[in-house]
Amino acid sequence: MQSLLENTSLVSRAYWLVRLRWVAVGGLAVATFGASEFMGVTLPVGALYAVSVVVLVYNLALYGLLRYWTRGAEMPSQARTGGVLTFQISADLFILTTILHYSGGIENPFLFFFAFHMIIASILRSRHQSYMQATLAVVLFGGLVVLESIGGLSHCSLEGFAGHGLYRDSTYVFGMLFVFTVTLYLIVYMTTSISEQLRRHQEDLEKANAQLREKDKVKNEYVLRVNHDIKGHLAAVLSCLDVVNGEMLGPLNDGQKDFVGRAHRRTTTCLEFIGALLKLTRMKLTGRLEAEPFPLKKCVHNALALAQNRARDKSVTLSHQMDPGIDMIWGEGVLIEDTLVNLLLNAVKYTPPGGRVDLEVRYESDSVLIRVADTGIGVPESALPRLFEEFYRADNARAAERDGTGLGLAFARQVVERHGGRIWFENNPGGGSVFSFTLPAGPMSSSSAVQ
């Protein structure tokens, strides 16, 4: 039977118990001091301080051990963590029994503290383990009070606090022990039944999540398959249209040329859309990034060359500014170049003739910042929350350019986030848009790689 919590939470709970024990040790010392000095209770002060010191040393050793096991990124096995927790709880029961022995035994109201350990065991450990802990507590505490009662162990009376002689009253001792036992077992029963219900619920959620992920994967594979087939047909259509449109089979009249041209343009647009969707879906289906050092400088120049043609056709000025030190960075070059091309073509597309697009690439601490600023139509406030969503296009973008996939920015975000970077939008102070993204310059740590 598993615990309610997963291993990482169990490890943090092991540390949590250590922290609580510091407080308990401090509490014990303060209570001993207060009770003996101010309340006039007679206590074997030396023994109690000695216990405090022993527990202090024990806790320090435990802390060291935990640190040793959890150093680096590696976690101890679930079994080992569980073992540590069981040991801690059992050891605490011994410690508490020892403290009670030196501070009045059955006369000390701190005996209720056994309840805490029952609750902790029931949540952190299995049902079986929890009942074992309850039994251990009953045996330890029962043994203590019975032995003190019949004189097998010395009894330290709490003179000045509780009526002495109570520990020798067998009716009281057995009555108390009975209630004590019932209470501990009931706590374990109630707590484990609730925590087990929670655990089942959690398992159901995990199962449902796994199913959702599987369904999403099936959906993506379906999209990929359908798109791939459509793309094959469209490529053939376009090739045939190229032949007619290029007048390779004889000249066309103006009407024919017009309509074949339209068919050609629509097919091209459709292919662009299919291509973008294929790229995005493929990326969603491949789990990990195939990151390696690649020449960012070359990617930037390739992307610029591609966008430059489009910018020239449209009389948009495209300029760039790059840190001279920019060269190799870590990531998947093909994807980064695609992202750059997307952003640059977008900027050119939504910038009216005479406007300008500026690309800036520079180091910023341990990452590379890439900014594409334009003097185009900008993004209205209302479109901002959905800007990077798949298939979303802002109203003004739709009005300015009928054709567009609504996938370019979604793709860019996927790529950037997979690299452990960030992409965002700002208004260009002079009007227009600024899209910026960061990429880690060096190898990614495992924590920053997404998914």
Binding site: A236, C240, D242, G246, M248, L278, K279, R282
Partner: protein, 133 residues
């Protein structure tokens, strides 16, 4: 005027037919094959100056395998191969090894599908005029 003879291998007949019109229009002589077996036959009988090869035919590997086969044949190893790829296929190709290790993927050029006629012609001219390895 004999510009050169080109063997086009693609399993899509619409693509091969369109491509042959585009190439013939520029004065090339075109032979067509729709799979590796036909490709092998045409190769022997036509002795082309260039092969245009689709990366994906019946299986996703057929194009690769065919190109390797051609380059291992003493008789044909000097014929340049232009490979047509899609994005997906491209991702599967390790371009560093493709450039550095000719025996692994022995092709002389790549073009993305669908190919624009002028881009195709440019690449074909380029490959036919470059000195043979």
């Amino acid at each position: 005027m004999r510009q050169g003879r080109i063997l086009v291998i693609d399993d899509d007949p619409d693509i091969t037919d369109a491509m042959s019109v585009i190439l013939e229009n520029k004065g090339y002589e075109v032979r067509i094959a729709h799979d590796s077996d036909q490709g092998r036959e045409r190769l022997k009988e036509a002795k082309p100056d260039l092969i245009i090869l689709d990366v994906m035919m019946r299986t996703s590997q057929e194009g690769f395998e065919f190109s390797r086969e051609v380059k291992q044949d003493e008789q044909f190893k000097d014929i340049p191969i232009l490979m047509l790829t899609g994005v997906k296929e491209k991702k599967g190709i390790d371009f560093k090894s493709a450039a550095g290790d000719k025996s692994w993927l022995p092709v002389d050029g790549f073009l993305d599908k669908p190919v624009k006629p002028n881009v195709l012609i440019e690449k074909v001219q380029d490959l036919l005029s470059s000195p043979k390895a």
